[in-house]
């Protein structure tokens, strides 16, 4: 990274600088701490996990002293491991169910229903939905634990007796995550909808388009970039979700709700299989990186 010392200063003026060495220092000094921290605690560990994923590194036993290069062994093991495949499928179900379908649709619906409502209605609805979002994930788990308990609120309301966390653990964690994450989509869509020009929608109404057609042919196409960006962001947030599922079901019963982050936790932190755990982490990072790149392409950052 170097400073463009070209004499023609573009839009912004710059503070006085001396020789070219001072020119380097004047950006290196303020950026230095950030670069060092990012290199040591983010880039370093990620690169190291790339290396370790190809070794048999463990934290205990002989391999902890002399880890060996094992090539693709961790990865061939990974894709033959029924528990990993199971976790991958469950993560997919979790992301599609709770983020793409749940949070996204519900967030959009709430934002649409709120249009043209009074201040009080809006702030009450916003307050309630955002409250679920502000609560820390372990507390959210405690809320849902009691809500879904055999004699809990949900069964009392529905008048049935059902051990949700045992009979339908995936449904339980998906519902809990929809509850916790909808606020984000709602806020994104409220912001996007407020920028949709009113006259366009009204013109369509004059031409005889009903509410359904106005939504489908005017409003949704106008906010499609927000929809795509929101889908990417909530997918990224949901992929790595750990605390909520871990506190609510612990991945169980058995492995019925063990998504990939929980499986990674079990392998790396319970069995201390760092090499294998890193291979799982690497798969998660690659999937996350792909979605992150898609997001960058999508939003076409102007000011960067």
């Amino acid at each position: 990274m170097t400073v463009a010392t070209a004499p023609a200063p573009p839009v912004t003026n710059t503070p006085p600088s001396g020789s070219s060495r001072r020119g380097v220092l004047r950006w290196l000094l303020p950026l230095g701490p950030a670069i060092v921290l990012l290199a040591l605690f983010l880039a370093g560990p990620i690169l190291w996990s790339v290396y370790v994923a190809f070794t048999n590194e463990t934290l205990t036993g002989s391999a902890s002293v002399n880890s060996e290069f094992v090539g693709l062994a961790n990865f061939t093991r990974l894709f033959d491991d029924p528990n990993f495949i199971n976790s991958f499928v469950l993560t997919f179900v979790f992301v599609i169910g709770s983020a793409v379908i749940g949070q996204n649709t519900l967030g959009l619906i709430i934002a649409l229903l709120q249009r043209g409502r009074g201040r009080t209605t809006r702030s009450v609805v916003n307050g309630v939905v955002i409250a679920a979002w502000v609560v820390p994930e372990v507390v959210a788990a405690a809320c849902w634990f009691s809500f879904l308990a055999e004699e809990g609120t949900l069964n009392a309301v529905l008048g049935i007796s059902q051990e949700w966390l045992y009979t339908a653990p995936m449904l339980a964690v998906i519902l809990a995550n929809v509850w916790r994450g909808t606020a984000f989509s709602m806020l994104v869509y409220s912001a996007a909808l407020s920028e949709v020009p009113k006259d366009l929608v009204e013109a369509a109404a004059v031409d005889g388009a009903g509410p359904g057609r106005r939504l489908l042919h005017i409003t949704l196409p106008l906010i499609r970039r927000s929809i795509m960006a929101n889908l990417m962001l909530i997918t990224l947030q949901t992929l790595a979700s750990f605390g909520l599922i871990y506190a609510l079901t612990g991945g169980g019963p058995g492995t019925a709700s063990q998504t990939t982050p929980l499986y990674m936790y079990e392998q790396a932190f319970r069995y201390f299989e760092i090499g294998y755990g890193s291979a799982i982490a690497l798969v998660m990072l690659v999937v996350g990186a792909l979605f992150s790149l898609l997001y960058l392409r999508l939003i076409k950052v102007e000011d960067a």
Partner: protein, 273 residues
């Protein structure tokens, strides 16, 4: 008439959505003031604050909350300091790789930090940092930096350069300019980033869960999980009281910056379609 019906239906839907979102909170709030609360949602007329006094002991709540304040607070302060410094050249100078750097930061915000913790844990183990609070704070700071630098740069871009030029004429360098002119002017932005990082770390469960070695160092996020898994079924009233006391600071801080955060949601929508 159909317009009225549609409005009514929309209002009814909003009401149902509100009730559904309130549902999971209900028993936590009620049982926190019920002396003998269990998981069974059967409120009685007995009101007592016994659950709150029961959890307000040094090991159960006070020490974990102090740990949370130390961990989240020092992460927030360090992040704001480092991100503020980094934002200055990114906002003010014409750097050749600025765009690459900013895009890399934005890209990094999308990476799953859960996955990064595996190598970080192994690294901490190898370099004898396992259980070290300062080392964990440095990691948490690094993980908060990409988003914070991004936000901080945007806030700094909002401070007109012309205001600084007077200081430069008087011979002030970037340090003076940053601390005496830009810093005070973007104080609201600094507060938003600090509170954002603080609230995020206040709820962070996974990092301290795997990086800290003894219960005495754990923040409330982990202690409440331990309490939940050990006594959640039997002493639900106390768990509820614990939840409320632990959640309150996050809610209060959120309300404080709510106004400013609302603007950042056009972040995903600010893009021209």
């Amino acid at each position: 008439m159909t317009r009225l019906a549609a409005r009514g239906a929309a209002g009814l839907s909003l009401l149902i959505i509100c009730l559904a979102f309130l549902g999971p909170f209900l028993w936590v709030v009620i049982s926190s003031v019920q002396p003998e609360a269990t998981l069974a949602a059967q409120p009685t007329l007995n009101f007592s604050l016994d659950n709150f006094t029961a959890v307000l002991t040094w090991e159960t709540l006070i020490l974990p909350l102090i740990n949370s304040i130390i961990i989240s607070g020092s992460t927030a302060i360090l992040t704001v300091f480092v991100a503020g410094l980094a934002a200055y050249p990114l906002s003010r100078y014409q750097l050749r790789y600025r765009r690459h750097f900013m895009l890399t930061l934005l890209f990094t915000t999308g990476l799953p930090m859960t996955a990064v913790l595996v190598p970080v844990y192994a690294m901490f183990f190898r370099f004898n940092l396992y259980g070290s609070v300062p080392a964990m704070v440095l990691f948490l700071t690094a993980s908060s930096l990409p988003f914070s630098i991004w936000m901080m740069t945007n806030f700094m871009d909002g401070v007109p350069v012309s205001l600084e030029e007077a200081a430069w004429v008087d011979g002030a360098g970037w340090v003076r300019s940053l601390t005496t002119v830009v810093g005070p002017l973007m104080a609201p932005g600094v507060a938003v980033v600090a509170i954002f990082v603080f609230v995020g770390q206040w709820g962070n469960f996974f990092a301290p869960f795997v990086l800290m070695d003894t219960p005495e160092k754990q923040p409330a996020a982990v202690t409440i999980y331990t309490f939940f898994s050990q006594y959640g079924q039997v002493a639900y009233g106390q768990l509820a009281a614990f939840s409320i006391l632990y959640t309150a600071p996050a809610v209060i801080l959120y309300v404080a910056v709510n106004k400013y955060l609302a603007g950042s949601f056009s972040f995903a929508g600010s893009v021209k379609g």
